[in-house]
Symmetry: C2
């Protein structure tokens, strides 16, 4: 369900976070559904408990999930379209695009890139 790429530059906890958002986005995880426990997911991914905890914590701070002591983590109500998350994602794109443009990449190339990536979703 979640796949880690250790050769990528994006941190493990970030990958977990992004993929959970993706699953929530796709409707695989519906509101109030319980997520895998920290320990269970850590074991499944072959990763330390702290790392999963970190990912969940960040997700909680973005109001994607919420926690209940002794029970677990659950998908938040309007997690599927979360302004904070989308805003941050857009900001990353903005920085990358801005940098690319300043280095001489043409906007047409960027349009083509987005068009191509859009089809694989």
């Amino acid at each position: 369900m979640i796949v880690l790429d250790y050769s990528a530059k994006t941190p493990i906890f970030e990958q977990i976070k992004e993929q959970i958002i993706f699953l929530v986005q796709k409707g695989v995880f519906l509101p109030n559904v319980r997520l895998p426990s920290i320990r269970a997911l850590a074991a499944q991914l072959g990763v330390n408990v702290n790392t999963v905890k970190h990912a969940y914590q960040v997700l909680e701070e973005s109001d994607i999930i919420y926690s209940e002591l002794g029970k677990g983590f659950f998908v938040a109500q309007n997690a599927a379209d979360n302004k904070k998350v989308k805003g941050e994602a857009l900001e990353v794109v903005r920085a990358a695009v801005s940098s690319a443009l300043s280095m001489g990449v043409k906007k047409e190339e960027l349009f083509n890139l987005i068009e191509a990536l859009s089809e694989n979703i």
Copy 2:
């Protein structure tokens, strides 16, 4: 000429690199023109010599500039359109866009973003 942003997540040497590429791209630095010396630029930016050296070294490895012992660094011949640099910049954009799309950002928003950023160049 070069401005550093210490609050940004992009490393100093990377910022130096990008802004020099930008200046080369804009035609401020023409081929075979001499760049500020490592020590001079370091002093001007209030940064360690090693940091500027690192930036210049990366630029040299990308064939944007070249060095001559005892003389200095100079802009390379076809520095203005460097495939390696543009390829790397595109790859960063690809990762960011891919991530944003998977998080539910619509491609129209991305198009608008690029359009807006293109005008400020």
